[in-house]
Symmetry: C2
Subunit: 238 residues, 2 copies
């Protein structure tokens, strides 16, 4: 937790904020924060600035916080990701958020096990929590938008064209394709398949939507390795 | 497991190999491999080629295998990594290996908890096993060299200069530094600090050894996110 992220419900008045639970425990236990000391903070969706601990009654902590400077610029990349297995999904959401990605689509694919869509880990509140951890890690304040799309074809035909309009549409696919572009700071939509890859039909549908296939070397990476690798290769990280 | 990796002890004669245990179970359970069918294989440290299942007695499997083509080219990057916490170390070793890194140094740093050096997970056999998983994932055959160095200063003063000779020495460090180079295919030594970063003293020592500080954007990444991100940003992945 590199940033104390403050939420609307933590606000007492203009500059006074109160937290308890996980964040407070972290600041006590790991940072040993004492009254009068400061910690980097940010208002969810807003500015960053120092927060000064005013008092700590052992349960809740009160802070003085004023946002003074903007959070890092959003990464102009939309990640369209075949739904990974639940355990991996958590990590990937933290990673993708910490990299600055602001829109994530979890999409079905032929090779996604049906059971993944029924797991309790897919509850919006749990996914939200993982993205919060990503923001706290990265020192960022703006939550990504998260879309769950359980039907591949309607999404790719009806939603994806508008969603990816005026972006460079890239499909990471193992095979003998041209290398991925790199160092971009212009908008990109990146589609990443499941373990085992998109099917031929899925690739063809994505190509029809304007996506071009590229590979990131000969080696086959796990999805959770590929997401940070692809992101940092393709984009100029702000 | 995208590759059946064969070891010297699996060899029966010139072209006949026998496996049992984890690999055989995977091929039976996940791939449902039957006699006469082929699976991508490789000889540890050697060539890739198809392996044909000759017989499976439910315990051991016998294959016909002949190497026909080389494994992907090694990535000319040496990773000098502050020893991560044991749970993360496993993942990072799989990731680093799957990315094609062929030399990994696990180094002490002021902010590495002393207990990390005493954990049973640091047994060479366990670390070796993780790197094997990375090779099987990536479809590669050449094991990385792994060095454990529990004393920072003697390593940086006495070993690192020769180890990093004729490589570009890069230090990933959060802060206001010039951006990292990208798309390199020439040799690089990359130093990645612990959670919380190298100390000022450690940065100065590495700079004296010829390392230059660079940052990968404003956001602070977890070490396990940073390793694939940095690798795929800096290097042209073969």
């Amino acid at each position: 937790m590199n940033l104390l992220l403050l939420h609307p419900e933590d606000r007492l008045d203009d500059t006074r904020w109160q937290i308890s639970g996980r964040r407070a425990e972290h600041l006590r236990r790991v940072r040993a924060l004492l009254p009068g000391e400061q910690v980097p903070a940010g208002e969810c969706g807003g500015l960053l600035g120092p927060a000064t601990l005013l008092e700590d009654d052992g349960d809740s902590m009160q802070f003085d916080f004023r946002g003074t400077h903007p959070a890092p610029a959003p990464l102009p990349l939309t990640l369209v990701l075949a739904l990974p297995r639940p355990k991996m999904l958590k990590r990937i959401l933290i990673d993708a958020t910490s990299l600055g990605i602001k829109r994530i689509v979890l999409l079905n694919s032929h090779k996604v096990e049906k059971s993944f869509w029924k797991t309790p880990e897919l509850k919006q509140s749990l996914l939200h929590e993982k993205m919060l951890l990503g923001l706290e890690q990265a020192g960022d304040t703006l939550m990504p938008e998260l879309l769950l799309r359980q039907r591949f074809r309607p999404f790719v035909e009806d939603e994806l064209p508008a969603l990816s309009e005026q972006t460079q549409r890239l499909l990471a696919h193992p095979g003998d394709y041209s290398p991925l572009p790199s160092g971009l700071s212009t908008p990109v939509t990146l589609a990443v398949g499941p373990e085992g890859g998109w099917t031929g039909y899925e690739v063809a549908m994505l190509q029809q939507c304007g996506f071009t296939c590229h590979s990131l070397g000969q080696r086959i990476l796990r999805v959770e390795t590929a997401v940070p690798a692809l992101t940092a290769h393709i984009m100029q990280l702000p």
